[in-house]
Structure formats: C-alpha cells, structure tokens
C-alpha cells in the first residue's frame, strides 16, 4: 500500500481521524484501530494469542479471565474476554494506556473449551482452568502473551 502524496505523519494522522470518526459513529470509546493506538498511546497495551495445538486452530469462544494482584497478594478479577476466530481477542485485553506495573493472571477455561467440542477427556480433565501468571515491570511497553495449549500441555512466553 503506497501513498505517494503523503508523508508518514500525514498518513498516520489520517488513520487517527478515521478511527476517531468510527468511535463517534458507534458511540464506542474503546474502538481504536491499532494504527491509531500506536500514534496516541500514552502507555502499553496487553494482548494475548491463545493457540490451540490440539485442533491446530483455535476455535472461538475460549473464555479467559484477567485478574491483577492487589496489595494483599490476592488476584482480583478485572474482566472476562473471549477469543474470536484464530485465538485473538477482538480488542486488546488492556487498551493502550491501561496497562499498569504489577502482577497479572489470565485464567484460561480449557475445561469448558474442550468439553464444548466434544473432546474425549477424563473426568476431571488433567487441565481445567489454567492460570497464566506474569509480571509487567514497565507500563509503557506492550506486553503480548501467546499461549499454546492442548488438553495435556501449555506454554506461554513474552511475545512481540
């Protein structure tokens, strides 16, 4: 995609105006395009990618609960998100500027997910609701957390 008559700044600004226009149309303050976010971000965002290595493709509607550790060391529920096709979420789990330094948990409802697709599993399943814990040490950075999972294993890392 080339915009010969625009320099990059103008191009990005144009995207920003476009996203702001969409927000106005839908009345949805959370609707921010990634390009817009990149220009406007005052802080990092949290995104995830849940990758189902059992079926080879993540199906929709895997529930994941985000919690954050409070001063007492207890993880306090923040929000629930569900994956859309291919294991991402429609919006960042935490929008640019919402990420704070602290300890987080993504609780993956693997039991519900695999039960819904009639996967033959023992009862109780080896993995039920799986906590993915990680620390955020700089709220201005983006944290992307890919999680590879099957009924018998999982792996996660700091992605980019």
């Amino acid at each position: 995609m080339e915009f010969p008559d625009m320099n990059r700044r103008e191009f990005v600004t144009g995207l920003g105006i476009g996203a702001a226009g969409l927000s106005a149309i839908y009345g949805d303050g959370t609707l921010v395009s990634p390009a817009h976010a990149a220009t406007q971000a005052t802080g990092g965002q949290l995104t995830l990618h849940a990758i189902d290595t059992h079926f080879g493709q993540t199906r929709a509607d895997l529930q994941i609960d985000l919690s954050m550790q409070d001063a007492d060391g207890t993880y306090q529920f923040v929000k629930s998100v569900t994956t859309v096709e291919r294991g991402r979420t429609e919006n960042p789990v935490l929008e640019p500027g919402e990420l704070r330094i602290g300890r987080y948990e993504l609780l993956m409802y693997l039991d519900d997910y695999f039960a819904r697709f009639a996967t033959e599993l023992p009862n109780p399943p080896f993995l039920g609701k799986v906590p993915i814990r990680f620390g955020v040490f700089d709220g201005s950075q983006n944290f992307h957390v890919p999680i590879l999972f099957s009924p018998w294993s999982y792996s996660y890392y700091r992605g980019s």
């Binding site: 023992p122 906590p131 814990r133 620390g135």
Partner: protein, 117 residues
C-alpha cells in the same frame, strides 16, 4: 508406576533446574492447602516422589514453581516484577493407577508444562 513426579529443566542454559523450590498443594474446600515444600536435586528432580502411588488420590493438585528465586539465586538480572515469577501448575489426577509426571521447562521469559511420562 503411579504417583506424582516432576522435573525442572532450565531452558535458558539447557540444563537441569537445580535447587528450585516447589510448593505442592491439594485443592480442598475451595482452596489449595499446602502439603509439602521440596527442592529439586542435581538432576532437576526431587529426591522423593511428590506423592507416592499409595498417597495419591483422585483430585486437583498444584505445583508452584519458584522460578524467580531460582534465577535470582543464579545471579540472573530480572526486572521487578519478573515476567515469569512463581508459576502455579494446576492439574487433576483422574486415575490413581496412572503416573502423573508434570515437568516444568522454564526461562525468565517463558514456561512450559505438560503431562509427561
């Protein structure tokens, strides 16, 4: 062989995770109750089984791996809080006749677990 065992592998250095603290708990009455704290030996394993076949019951268990302390003790520079800190692995025993080997493969930036053998 039945029962519960674990094995820590340090994927940063490609060696056994020696001297890592692991807290083992059972899920009872809506919370995890600590049963024992162990340390990995020179092979990254534990000297005794986490649970022997005779001790193992159907239920939910947790292995809490103190990955942050492990890397700090080796002099690794970690951010605060570290990305990978104390890693809970919650799993179920559904057949006491089977063996549950639950390894932990870790670096300061990633961790992996699975049902091994």
């Amino acid at each position: 062989m039945a029962g519960i065992t674990t094995h820590v592998l340090d994927n940063e250095t490609g060696s056994p995770g020696v001297g890592m603290r692991i807290d083992f708990s059972v899920f009872e009455n809506g919370e995890y109750r600590l049963l024992k704290t162990v340390q990995t030996n020179q092979e990254g394993r534990t000297d005794e089984m986490i649970l022997t076949p005779e001790e193992t019951r159907i239920g939910q268990y947790q292995l809490l791996f103190h990955v942050d302390e492990y890397y700090r003790s080796k002099g690794t520079d970690l951010p605060e809080p570290p990305f990978i800190e104390k890693v809970p692995v919650n799993f179920s025993v559904f057949d006491t006749g089977q063996h549950y080997h639950v390894p932990m493969l870790c670096t300061p930036w990633t961790c992996t677990t699975y049902r091994g053998s």
